[in-house]
């Protein structure tokens, strides 16, 4: 018996030489990957490396052009579909969430469980999801009879994760988590990862895709690194360091941590001042010219609403918005990448009343280079980009406008580490040049790039922290403490 055969025998899933192309884009260029029972595999790679595509293949929602898929010992390459996958116990939390917004959470559970039918199905579904939510995210505060569309993006993500772990008559063998923490705050993210370890201990295999390398290093058993549609490195997690992981991904090596940069001098000119409308007892927010102001606190406590309030209140065209929920607030599905980038700057690309196409092209080309959007052609449709690259296009849109204030709604969701560093740099440069930023983030690490931060709780500002106070401890403390 060869080594390979023995590997397959003891594996939960084996993918061999998987290839997949979208037109000219070769998303997967012959991927081999193996998942053992009861292990947690970390999958990392730059934006557009092919991680999500590979997971779609595994979940049966995309047919590969080439390659073999073996589940347990059964070769399923021929007849494989989404319902097959779920019958084999493979579940997936997709990067773009897939709840039906018009259905309640309980009803959303029914969709993935064919066994839920007949009289009393609803009570069963309600119990299933409710118990799972309690188990994974104690204190989640989500009502299972709420329509998914009424939840904010973080709650939707929590619900979908919980749904993936519910069990009826089909086995639970593999759970794929594609950037599950992108919209979760630090606390809920921790809850999820802890639960994931428990699940793994019970024998379920999981695949965790994340751009937060710390999480991957800490919580996974093994890590596979993808680059340009191939797996380029695959080792036990303890054999990677943060540094070697970044190097394997092919991103520019991480520079000396941020925060070390000397505090910049900020002009005293006040750009905006605002008070959250939704809360009675609340502090006031103010932003100066050239300042980077963070909004922090647990997800769903009114930060997005604050940003929108500022956006609506701002003078015309003086504010730009970078959505984190790019599906519903960001991209224009039918447009090319170029059109998506230039849309906020159109008024400056005109001669007389008419937009000049050559100016538009120039701008698009310019930003493709500046922000490194991975695409052969900016005239391609925006949806051909990977999630992270779509997000980059939204950055380009906002930074390319002439707005004085840039409002960022947790904008780094799904952006890879290399790009993040570049974007941090760009934000800093823009701030030097006099632009103001208001930055809501669920990653406490990111607050280090801010000059100041406001902590939100229940729609109100409960604390203001200066740059040197922005440590994880202090932020979490402020997020939970009773308001003074």
């Amino acid at each position: 018996m060869t080594g390979l055969m023995s590997d397959i025998l003891e594996s939960a899933v084996t993918l061999t030489a998987i290839e997949k192309s979208f037109g000219a884009v070769r998303a997967l260029a012959g991927v081999d990957l193996l998942l053992k029972p009861g292990e947690c595999l970390g999958l990392v790679g730059h934006n557009g490396a092919g991680k999500s595509t590979l997971m779609h293949v595994l979940a049966g929602t995309l047919k590969p052009d080439q390659g073999r898929l073996v589940i347990g010992t059964q070769d399923v390459s021929r007849q494989y579909s989404a319902s097959n996958a779920s019958a084999h116990g493979i579940r997936c939390v997709f990067q773009e969430l897939s709840l039906c917004p018009n259905l309640t959470l309980a009803e959303n559970v029914r969709i993935v469980h064919r066994a839920l039918k007949g009289i009393g199905w609803k009570a069963k579904a309600r119990r299933l999801i409710g118990e799972k939510l309690d188990e994974i995210f104690p204190g989640h505060g989500i009502d299972v009879d709420q329509e998914a569309g009424d939840l904010n993006i973080g709650q939707r993500q929590m619900a979908e994760i919980a749904r993936a772990f519910t069990v009826t008559d089909e086995p639970l063998r593999v759970v794929i988590l594609d950037e599950p923490t992108s919209s979760l705050d630090a606390v809920t993210a921790r809850q999820l990862l802890t639960f994931m370890r428990q699940e793994v201990a019970r024998g379920t295999s999981t695949i965790l895709i994340s751009h937060l390398l710390g999480d991957v290093l800490d919580y996974c058993d093994r890590i596979a690194v993808m680059k340009d549609g191939k797996v380029v490195a695959e080792k036990e997690a303890q054999n990677f360091t943060r540094h070697s992981l970044v190097a394997a991904m092919g991103a520019t090596a991480e520079k000396a941590g941020p925060g070390t940069t000397a505090r910049r001098r900020i002009s005293s000119a006040l750009t905006i001042e605002a008070t959250p409308l939704t809360a009675t007892q609340t502090g006031k927010l103010s932003v100066r010219k050239g300042e980077i102001v963070g909004l922090a606190g647990l997800a769903g406590h009114g930060q997005t609403r604050m940003l929108i309030q500022i956006f609506d209140g701002a003078r015309k065209h003086s504010a730009a918005f970078i959505a984190g929920d790019r599906q519903s607030d960001g991209v224009f599905n039918l447009w090319s990448i170029g059109e998506n980038v230039t849309v906020s700057a159109l008024r400056h690309l005109r001669k007389g009343p008419l937009i000049r196409p050559e100016h538009e092209h120039n701008m698009a080309r310019n930003w493709k280079q500046r922000i490194g959007i991975r695409t052969p052609d900016m005239n391609n449709n925006i949806l051909t980009l990977s999630g992270g690259n779509q997000q980059k296009a939204l950055f380009a849109r906002a930074l390319g406008s002439k707005a004085d204030i840039v409002l960022m709604d947790d904008p780094m969701r799904g952006v890879d580490i290399g790009t993040k560093l570049e974007v941090y740099e760009m934000i800093r440069a823009e701030a030097e040049a006099g632009r103001s930023f208001v930055w809501y983030t669920t990653e406490i690490d990111e607050l280090k790039h801010c000059d100041r931060a406001y902590i939100f709780r229940n729609g109100a500002i409960v604390a203001e922290l200066q740059g040197d106070e922005l440590s994880e401890d202090k932020v979490l403390h402020a997020s939970f403490a009773e308001s003074a």
Binding site: F311, H317, A319, A320, F321, A323, S328, D329, G330, V331, F332, N333, L334, W335, E339, V343, S344, L346, R347, R350, P353, L354, I355, P357, R397, S401, A403
Partner: protein
């Protein structure tokens, strides 16, 4: 050669033109070649009206799912009635008549958008309701009386240059203008953006409300223009003059390759579709088919065209 064909095939409007030519060829094959040119001329004259309102309807439909202007037929009637009554067959009153009719259409657009925006009534119902009110206004103002248009208006609407209706030339200019409006102006881009994702459009700093308002206004004004020239063309305004245009305005837009889900507009397709629909009717009339057969054929051919054309179209 094949290269051109692949390029052409990718254009959503090409199918309406192919369908139009096929129908035309079938007609003249039946008549043994007789009247080939005249049929086209007639098609051009009558299709122009559908094209004008089609352009307005297209802009409305492009602003997103659920947006449609059902008040177009009533607005045509109102504008026609107001124009002919104010003009009162007098050339000297031509301008004031046109202004009055366009003014009435402007009010219609204002009213429609008011219902949609202020009362948050879904456009389809808002414009349907307002169409009843508009029609009542036309009835009580015009009393169903048919007044002849002033000679100048009638001449403008019926003159031909080398077999091409003058009106068609104007509408061509109008179409180019609208195409430019969509592709190259902030307003047009905003319409397309709203059609895809209104929230994203707002957050991208585009003026969503003003643009939607302008779009309903544009649709009403174009319907008004149609009312004026149509009453010039057919010798006066009648209360039922807009009746045939409700389904036609929607049909030319969608057959022409504009996305009903919003966000994608197509001007050339409207020409192809308007000519196609007219020639289809002509063909079935020429064949002498009975009313039942004609209706069935109309339906079958519309579905066939969209089936052949629509396969690779991206839909949300």
């Amino acid at each position: 050669m094949t290269n051109i064909w692949t390029k052409l095939r990718a254009q959503p409007w090409i199918w309406s033109f192919i369908a139009m030519i096929a129908v035309w060829l079938a007609t003249i094959a039946f008549t043994g070649g007789q009247g080939a040119g005249e049929i086209l001329t007639a098609a051009l004259s009558f299709a122009t009206f559908t094209i004008i309102i089609g352009l307005g309807q297209m802009m409305v439909i492009t602003t997103g799912p659920g947006n449609v202007d059902l008040s177009i037929p009533a607005t045509i009637t109102l504008a026609g009635v107001v124009a002919t009554k104010v003009m009162d067959t007098d050339n000297a009153r031509l301008l004031i008549g046109i202004l009055a009719a366009l003014g009435a259409s402007f009010v219609v657009g204002l009213f429609n958008y008011g219902l949609i925006r202020l009362l948050r009534i879904p456009p389809i119902i808002a414009t349907l309701s307002s169409s009843f009110l508009i029609l009542s206004t036309a009835i009580s103002y015009g009393r169903g009386i048919r007044i002849k248009p002033p000679p100048m208006l009638a001449d403008f609407a019926t003159t031909r240059i080398l077999g091409v209706p003058l009106l068609a030339i104007f509408v061509l200019a109008l179409s180019i203008g609208i195409a430019l409006l969509i592709k190259r102006t902030l307003y047009g881009r905003t319409v397309l953006a709203i059609g895809q994702n209104p929230r994203a459009a707002r957050l991208a700093g585009l003026n969503v409300d003003l643009t939607r308002f302008a779009t309903y206004l544009l649709s009403a004004l174009l319907a008004g223009v149609t009312g004026i020239v149509l009453s010039g063309f057919s010798g006066g305004a009648a209360l039922n003059m807009g009746e045939g245009f409700l389904l036609a305005s929607i049909a030319v837009v969608v057959i022409g390759g504009t996305s009903v889900a919003g966000g994608r507009a197509n001007v050339p397709g409207i020409w192809g579709a308007a000519l196609f629909i007219y020639l289809l009717d002509t063909m079935l009339n020429t064949f002498g088919a009975s009313a039942g057969i004609r209706l069935i054929m109309t339906g079958v051919i519309i579905i066939a065209v969209i089936t052949i054309a629509g396969g690779d179209r991206q839909q949300r």
